[in-house]
Amino acid sequence: MEDTLSPCNPALGAGYHENNLMEAPEEEEDIDLMNDETFGGDIDEDFDWEEQHEKLSEVIEVGDKVLYGRPSRGSEYQNNYASQEEFMEQSIRQLVVEDEEIDDPAILNVSKNCPIPKKCQNLDDLFGPSSPPALLDTEHLVSPTSRNIWGSPVKEAYMPPTVNNLQTLFEFAKAASGTSHAKGAPGRTLEELEQQIVPGSKGHAMTAEDLERHLRGEGQKPPPLPEPHLHHPPPGFLPGSHGPRNQTPQRMPPGYGPPYMPMMEGRRSPLGPGPYPPRAGEGPPGPTPPGPIPPHLLNGNRMTTPPIGIPRPMLRGPPPPHSPYNSPGPRQSPHGGPFGPPHGSPYGPPPPGSYPPPHSSPGGPRPPHPMGHSDPRRGRGRGHFRGHSRGGYMNMDVREGYSEGHDPNKYDQIHHQGNRDHRRDYQDNRREYDRRRYYHYNPDEDRKRSVDAYAGLMTQKEKDWIIKIQLIQLQTENPYLDDFYYTTYTLKKKAEERLKRQQNGALDDKDSELNLIIPAMAKLETKPYKPAQFEGSLGRLTTSSVHNPRQIIDVRSDNKPHSEEGEPKNVSKELRRSRQLLMEIENGYNLLLDVDDIEKKILALPEEARKPLFEDRKNMLTDLYKYLLCPGNNDHFLSIMSIRKGRKLVARVLPLLEKSKAENMVQLLLRNMAYLIKKDQGDEGLMCLHDSVIRVIDTCDLQRLVEFATELKESRQNQSKTTAVAIQNKFGSSLVCTLLHRGEVLHANTSPLDMDNQLESLWCQFVHEFAGILAVVPTESLVHPKQHHASITEHFDRLLNKKLIAVIEDKVKLFTEPERAA
């Protein structure tokens, strides 16, 4: 007994350690507890923390004013909020070193200058095991500017519009990736919707605070029922705390309560106390204005949770307690019916007058509005008894602007304002309940209609939920890998469309082009995640979450191709050598394919994200180049060239390289032309290089040309002139032909003044030599080049004397005239 009285009772878990602490003599009077250690030693005398604090709070208020155009919540609500925590959060927010793209929804709150939902959230519910991890996956569907999924709708007001239905969301996602511009630029759509829904509504977002202010201002007394909800202490709303009436089986997993609320908060705004503007005298029409109605709310139930790319993703309602891999929440039993409202969030987006409620029962059944995942649950409860009242004869209450979805939202509303609505809602529900009972007495309605009576059991929100899951499963980072045929099929179709559109008056060519290339999914290329940093904090605060764990080790893999061939000097050296060569060629191809992949990715991405990829690509190409060429080691290159695959590799790489590198390669080629041709006797394997090489030559300048030509000039050792050998091979002769052609083009295009004399003379020399060779080589062994260039004759005319020309005239024909089909 006595033990329990003492503060440290081992039975209660107090350890000996603590005992020691407790029993430590407190006789150190020497220690001044108010010393510098406690308060910080080196603080200026002038430093007045109170002053600082005041300034800070001003800043906050100003910030709020700026953001929200009205006096800071902070100042007004400090009294209202028991928790100073929120205020602190605000201050922290001010302090945070802004990071452009903080993608982790989990910590978005902290790092953005956005209002943290007012109700103090039980963080466990947000981050604890019951938090919806998988929902966060959908952040990938969202643009890099995706917002906190738990963000209050006010935040959302400034976000890239939340779209009101899946489709627009989808398009938004594409748009957000910067590539396409779907016909509903989301923002536009949102506004349009707003207009439609509430014509003339003020486009001003109201926050929960506003509403509450309103409420208090109006001094309306909430009905006793909702009372408990309304005033339940912020930290932690438990289903159990519902009022007496709330036998609602809408037991929500604890995770739902608090997070739900905050979300509802802002969300509440558009939904306002009076979700239905036409509500006459029902409530303050003021708070009603939808403002930036979270689009999904607007959409008469179509869109539930923004599945795709909702910047302010997912949670329209309390996050589902489980991952998306659970069906939308547990259902409640129907009994909760009439008393549903307390739980229902009064927060139902007013079904826009212009939106015919999908289930064609504007008021009657109020299937849970696409609010949150809890909504279906809630709505379900309600839906049950309402079930019968579905369908055509759901005669609604006139006041029903209630669209489905009104009710679920009531839940939130209750907490925030609840009076009017709650009362209304309650009455409505009761009405519905009665209606249902009434319908019980009409069992023999049309079969057909009774089928409809059960229709809509699955709310739009739930359907969207499913679709969202399916879409998540479909998203991919490399569509070419995951479904090549589908990807190419879509691209092809788009190309055709684009072509057609072009033919029918191509104005938006630029637009469609982008569309064309981008795969349907908006991929996110986010910068490497840099955790948020806080200014003025002691040490580095951890901001890691499930999705962005802090990086402990930097692991990077450099796949450098194995470039050096170690020469093992043993018997099977040749075999190993050739195998090694093949492996090296494979590596070269791997690099090439990587470059290819990058190119594809580049096409699919928005501008900003492309830059790092460009870098990568360049690096890869450099690697590739070095790999192939192994400067200083010609043999490597030659050995590669002796293998067909190697030649193809070179042919594919050549166009990708930058000019100087490409020209180097060509030069190397030419240098070893004799050798290559010798090896090429029989099959024209070198021809695969033809196009690439020709392209290089056609863009080179005179100096390069001369260098090329020099290469062709024989090195003294060789017996036969390289050129001579060359023209006896198709590839070679094509090369020579192209060289001459290029020479002619250059000569034609450059005025004599600009010509470098030295180069000019060198070139002339070459041409002369060539003519000489041509004269010598028998016609029969000459081979037609692949491409003929008539310009060669002109060139010869220009540079050679008549006599020489006459001699080689016939042979020149070989080069200048198309090959006669022999």
């Binding site: 899946l166 489709q167 989808f170 795709i308 998306p324 891999y325 069906s327 939308p328 089928v451 059960y454 229709a455 809509g456 059991l457 699955m458 739930e462 359907k463 499913i466 679709i467 899951i469 399916q470 879409l471 479909l474 589908y486 879509t490 349907a520």
Partner: protein
């Protein structure tokens, strides 16, 4: 189809009258009320239709919740033509009787096959049956 071309989703089948074939060979006909991500189905006003030869019989079942993995296929019922099938409807007991007979026959067939296989020294037909039936 709405949101991603080239895909199919059960969402469009909701509230439609569907015919569902299960892995154990049962055929259910009912209104699809709800689905989830595993393609679990909630069928309303379900009847189980047993086919034997050209005859069939219906057993009203009420509400079915079918686990998604057990569904082989499902298809929409053509409401116009559903009332004139080429098949003959018989009362339930009869059809059950017929089904039982059919089962017995199949079993006997299997037995015979097995026996003849063993006689020839082969292993009896290994169980590569499609699922459960």
């Amino acid at each position: 189809m709405n949101y991603l071309p080239g895909t199919a989703s059960l969402v469009e089948e909701i509230d439609k009258k569907l015919l569902v074939v299960l892995r154990d060979g049962r055929t259910l006909i009912g209104y699809l009320r709800s689905i989830d991500q595993f393609a679990n189905l909630v069928l309303h006003r379900t009847i189980e239709r047993i086919h034997v030869g050209k005859k069939y019989g219906d057993i009203p079942r009420g509400i079915f919740v079918v686990r998604g993995e057990n569904v082989v296929l499902l298809g929409e019922i053509d409401l116009e033509n559903e009332n004139n099938p080429q098949l003959e409807e018989v009362p339930i007991d009869d059809i059950l009787e017929m089904q039982r007979e059919e089962q017995i026959q199949k079993q006997q067939e299997e037995e015979r096959k097995k026996k003849s296989m063993l006689e020839r020294g082969l292993q009896p037909h290994s169980e590569l049956h499609d699922d459960l039936f």
